[in-house]
């Protein structure tokens, strides 16, 4: 995950006392990444804006449920993720965990910040995101946008750690192929 600064933890502390300035700073920090995540899942601008707004309101309403201040970001994303699920109104189907695939997972995958794409590959990245199944897309977005750890992604999406690893591996493999295939 992107390093959580001490000032962010202080902001969460201040937000707990109801300081509007603290909320403003926290929302400003997360509004665009959160919107990108929601939009890339929902594919509807108005619905995405609504979900971001509802996520902010719920965060303000239920902040006392956040146990670790440093986890504010992943907690906010988990609220938005739940809102996306509600938006689809589909029962969440857990994919069966493929143990064989899990064994093949590469442990030396580069960090999200080490994935560098050329200008001409940007469209390919977006096309890839479109092609990925929703659960894989969700994991890849969380990995790239906020560099959340596998445990955090599992908590946000409400899936098993092994499933997250498997999905991320699948998505990264597809992305790697895309990069290699592009001349």
């Amino acid at each position: 995950m992107l390093a959580v600064s001490e000032s962010e933890q202080t902001l969460v502390l201040d937000a707990r006392t109801g300081k509007p300035e603290a909320w403003d700073a926290l929302f400003r920090r997360y509004q665009l990444p959160l919107y990108v995540y929601v939009f890339e899942l929902v594919r509807n601008e108005q619905a995405s804006l609504d979900i971001v707004q509802e996520s902010f309101i719920n965060a303000a309403r239920y902040l006392e449920r956040l146990q670790v201040d440093a986890k504010f970001g992943s907690w906010l994303f988990s609220i938005a993720h739940q809102k996306c699920l509600q938006h689809w109104r589909k029962p969440k189907v857990e994919e069966p965990f493929d143990a064989a695939e899990f064994e093949q997972l590469a442990e030396d995958d580069p960090d999200p910040s080490e994935w560098l794409l050329r200008k001409e590959q940007e469209e390919d990245l977006m096309r890839l995101l479109n092609q990925l199944p929703l659960p894989h897309r969700s994991v890849l977005l969380l990995h790239f946008i906020e560099e959340f750890s596998l445990e955090e992604i599992a908590a946000i999406t409400g899936t098993l750690l092994g499933t997250v690893k498997s999905r991320l591996h699948y998505a990264k493999k597809a992305l790697r192929k895309l990069i290699e295939d592009t001349p």
Binding site: G18, F27, F56, S113, L116, L117
Partner: protein
């Protein structure tokens, strides 16, 4: 060269104006609710301090909250009072209406006294004259009847 994060954020940068508006709305909402919470808290504190509010609070917390109970209790008392009044009206006129019968009443009382005396006298007399029908205890016999050999 850009990271996927940079690419994704830049693609949606145009939405920031709308996101700013949403953020400001939510923060204003938080601010309003914070202010209203503070106003409620301070007004409650002020209310508790003033004496007239003490009476009002007493009325509210003691009477008004249990108003059905107090109304029921009042109704019961009214019924009891009404029944009591009705019973008092049903009793015949008191001694003030029978002052003319006083000599007759005195004569009756005298007659009752005389009869009571007649009945008690024969009962007392035999008890004084006749001996007791059962044997006397040995201690009543006296020392003269004991023979020491």
């Amino acid at each position: 060269m850009k990271t996927p994060r940079q690419i994704l954020l830049e693609r949606h940068r145009a939405a920031e104006t709308k996101l700013d508006r949403i953020r400001q709305d939510v923060v204003a909402q938080i601010h309003r609710s914070q202010q209203s919470d503070e106003a409620v808290t301070s007004s409650q504190t002020d209310d508790r301090r003033s004496p007239e509010s003490f009476v009002a609070r007493l009325w509210l917390e003691l009477i008004w909250v249990n108003r059905s109970f107090w109304a029921g209790l009042s109704a019961v008392w009214l019924i009891i009072l009404a029944l009591n009044q009705a019973a008092a009206e049903g009793v015949p006129a008191g001694p003030a209406g029978s002052m003319a019968d006083v000599p007759a009443m005195l004569a009756i009382v005298q007659e009752q006294k005389r009869l009571a005396l007649d009945l008690s006298e024969p009962a007392i007399r035999p008890s004084l004259e006749t001996p007791r029908p059962w044997p006397r205890p040995r201690t009543d016999l006296g020392l003269s009847n004991l023979q020491i050999t």
